[in-house]
Amino acid sequence: MSKTGPVTLDQSKGMDEFLKGLWNENPVFVQVLGMCPVLAVTNTVTNSLVMGVATSFVLVMSAIIVSATRNFIPKQVRIATYILFIATFVTMADYIIKAVSLSAHRSLGAFISLIVVNCIILGRAEAFSSRNKISDSIMDALGMGIGFTLAILMLGIVRETLGSGTFAGFPIFGSSFEPWVIMVLPGGAFFVLGFLLLAINAFNKRNMSGGT
């Protein structure tokens, strides 16, 4: 689906690395990676935001450390060390979320720990951070993290608005609004994701044929 092809190794323009994660190589809408949290925890805006920020934190921290150690780690054990780094940062994020907001931690439940196996993070570590200098890796991770956060926020906004008639917990419709229960159930996530992918691909296709 991605038209840009594999990452160019010598590219050092940080801004490009940052921007590609937002749209052209958006981890959710273009690469379709990390679908487990995308479908599971986007039932409210708050959950989406916390998950997005936690994932971005882990992405950036692991990008820094993977990039900084890329010349010391023997190739044979690199995946194992990446996973160890990622797991460390996920556990740190887990403690921090618990300290900041117990209710957010409760509503995300096991999905915080499951960031470890989010393929976006290992994917960026292996495909980008392990081959690029730290500054580029940070920009790449930030772009991917923010792209991921925006994508799941879009799902969260649609699902919470329709499914509970609220925005980040505040009611936005009158009491006569009948919530679409399906939207807060896992099935609703598939519907919303499907429609968003449809819209984005239609938009990209139109730009492609009309623009050039």
Binding site: N43, L84, T88, M92, V100, V181, V184
Partner: protein, 252 residues
């Protein structure tokens, strides 16, 4: 980098094939292209593990006080919800012998909180209970008033019930109002629960010990009823046996 690595391997293999063609075609498949230095690998993994554990310990010690404070605040808030007039509380544990002051040495014994009004009279006991719901274990806390022999409040502490249906047990105001004054049918003379709480469908006449089910969430409503019944059977006799102890229980 991957391509480079591959090229080096190829060059080596070519050198080998010049020496002995037949031999190399066999060894080529078995032996890895480059024998890694295992000491370096172990040392790297060890160093990474050390750094990781230091980071974890630092974060843990840094966040622990806040997490403990959060948990305590959450418990405090939950108790205030089920015992609204309480200003002072004492913590207890249910033991095999009865009740004991929670001095931090207990682990699995169920917790019990005695809540006192401002004038020092016992408002009620907050009791933690849990049981199987539709999706997972539901944990609740409920307030019991020994004076009226009734439940005066219930709060769901933890549940994974279906959003929009089963999770109404935690939020639905009509359902929660069932627990404002729910007769537990406890007989002080016999020190037993005479009959269970009953779950009924919405719209029928309510007796003081009946719980009005949430339509569309009968299983979750039944789960709450069952949890309360199971807990009442065990806890209420103990509470009434030790009522004087619990009443005077401010161990100050």
């Amino acid at each position: 980098m991957k391509d480079q690595h591959h090229d080096i391997g190829k060059v080596e293999r070519q050198v080998g094939s010049e020496a002995d063609v037949m031999e190399s075609s066999q060894s080529e498949q078995r032996a890895p292209a480059q024998t890694p230095n295992s000491f370096k690998m172990i040392a790297t993994m060890g160093a990474v593990g050390l750094v990781a554990s230091i980071l974890l310990v630092l974060t843990y010690t840094w966040t622990l006080p806040t997490i403990v404070a959060n948990l305590e605040a959450y418990l405090e808030e939950s108790i205030r919800e089920v015992l609204p007039e309480t200003t002072l509380r004492t913590d207890w544990r249910l033991t095999e012998e009865g009740v004991a002051v929670d001095d931090g040495t207990f682990t699995i014994e169920p917790r019990l909180f005695a809540g006192f009004r401002e004038d020092g009279s016992l408002e009620g006991l907050a009791i933690e209970a849990q049981g199987q719901g539709y999706a997972d274990i539901i944990r609740i806390i409920y307030g019991y008033s020994p004076d009226c022999g009734c439940i005066i409040g219930m709060k769901v502490l933890e549940s994974r019930e279906t959003p929009g249906l089963g999770d109404k047990i935690a939020k639905d105001p009509t359902f929660l109002s069932n627990f404002d004054a729910l007769d537990v049918r406890f007989s002080i003379s016999d020190s037993t629960v005479e009959g269970p709480l009953e779950l009924i469908k919405r719209g029928t006449n309510l007796s003081a010990w009946q719980i009005d089910a949430i339509s569309g969430a009968t299983i979750s409503s039944q789960a709450i009823t069952d949890i309360l019944n199971a807990s009442n059977q065990v806890v209420l006799p103990v509470i009434h046996e030790n009522l004087d102890l619990l009443k005077g229980g401010s161990d100050e």
